[in-house]
Symmetry: C2
Subunit: 193 residues, 2 copies
DNA sequence: ATCGGATGTAAGCAGTTGCTTACAAACATC
DNA sequence: GATGTTTGTAAGCAACTGCTTACATCCGAT
């Protein structure tokens, strides 16, 4: 037991990963409430009892998913590109292998205890966005920007007939960005283009 | 039986009205999914079996609520004041005896069949808003405006710590309106002030 | 070879959901 | 007052929820 002290036997970590992946997809698609543990285990190809063995509860699984999803993007994307990046991540349905946005956004509508988990991540986004303006109510303005993304995601996801779902993403971005610049005035730049 | 052919006996119409009122409140507060028929009947002070006798199903009750809520406001508020009016209706928690906005907005996040009910009303709002701009993508821009209201409502309702819940409504309106004007350019006026 | 813990599975429990049914009470009409 | 419809009530059903338990099975260590 010098180098590998733990060799996977029947691959518990693969089961955990499968559960995390399936949960990330489903939470992003349907939100927390409308996703059942049977759905998750089913998509993961894993017995549902393992979900509870490895994560303890559906809520703890959700926390793990949010933690894993939030880590990456926020650390890598510079604040002035964050908004455009988030928006594109939402608009590009298949291009967005990155569920992190939806997971956080969908959490807004859920349980009291659950929403706190997602909101912690939301707070980080808020902080990143609020540095873009020197207006006195920077925090409020950052919240408004995030609220817009939440709303766009919801209407895009539900209203199949909405132009938000069918329109060219870049056209949407072109509409939204000027308005957001109005919100976050005296700003370096929001869009990299 | 010359004038009143139907005199209320044990007041079935009062029960119907109580159910409609209670349902309107609860759907606005929690959305469709998280509102149970027992909750509705309980708040209405009515046996839950009556809910099904009078409305057939929870979904049909929802349709009745949406229909009643949507009729009024849209007909009375002129388009150029519609956005500010909607926004204020959301921000003023107690001032807003008018649940119509929330009911429609909350419906966005719900069931497939249920969302269609709320979206019919949403379409009317879209049409009213899209006349405010002469941009080619007027429809898209109107959807974006409505999406913003949806997002603000969601974040305000869930994040008790959000400044959207605590800030002075007029301050929020002052932040948002200029940005919306950027969206709906070449426009008469959005705010009456 | 065997023991013990790690991994996977089937079955079920208690609670909640929307909804139904069987029945009692109140009213209008005769 | 008798009759039949309308209004209200209690109980329960079938399905689903998150979660638990009892039990096979595999595998590394001794």
């Amino acid at each position: 037991m010098d180098d590998h002290q733990q060799v996977r036997r029947r691959d518990s970590s693969a089961s955990r990963a499968a559960l995390l992946d399936a949960a990330a997809e489903l939470f992003a698609e349907r939100g927390y409430d409308r996703t059942t543990v049977r759905d998750i285990a089913g998509r993961a190809g894993v017995n549902q009892a393992l979900l509870f063995r490895y994560f303890g509860s559906k809520e703890a699984l959700y926390a793990a998913v949010v933690a894993r999803a939030g880590r990456d993007k926020l650390a890598e994307v510079p604040p002035n590109e964050l908004f455009a990046q988030l928006l594109r991540g939402i608009l590009d349905r298949q291009a967005g292998q990155d569920h992190s946005s939806q997971i956080m956004l969908r959490s807004s509508a859920e349980d009291v205890s659950v929403k706190a988990i997602g909101q912690e991540l939301g707070q980080d986004y808020i902080r990143a966005l609020s540095v873009l303006t020197d207006a006195p109510e920077a925090d409020l303005r950052a919240h408004l920007v995030l609220a817009w993304i939440v709303g766009i995601d919801l209407m895009r996801a539900d209203g199949g007939l909405s132009p938000l779902a069918s329109a060219n993403p870049e056209q949407v971005v072109a509409c939204v960005l000027p308005a957001v610049r109005t919100l976050l005035e005296r700003i370096k730049d929001i869009s990299p283009e």
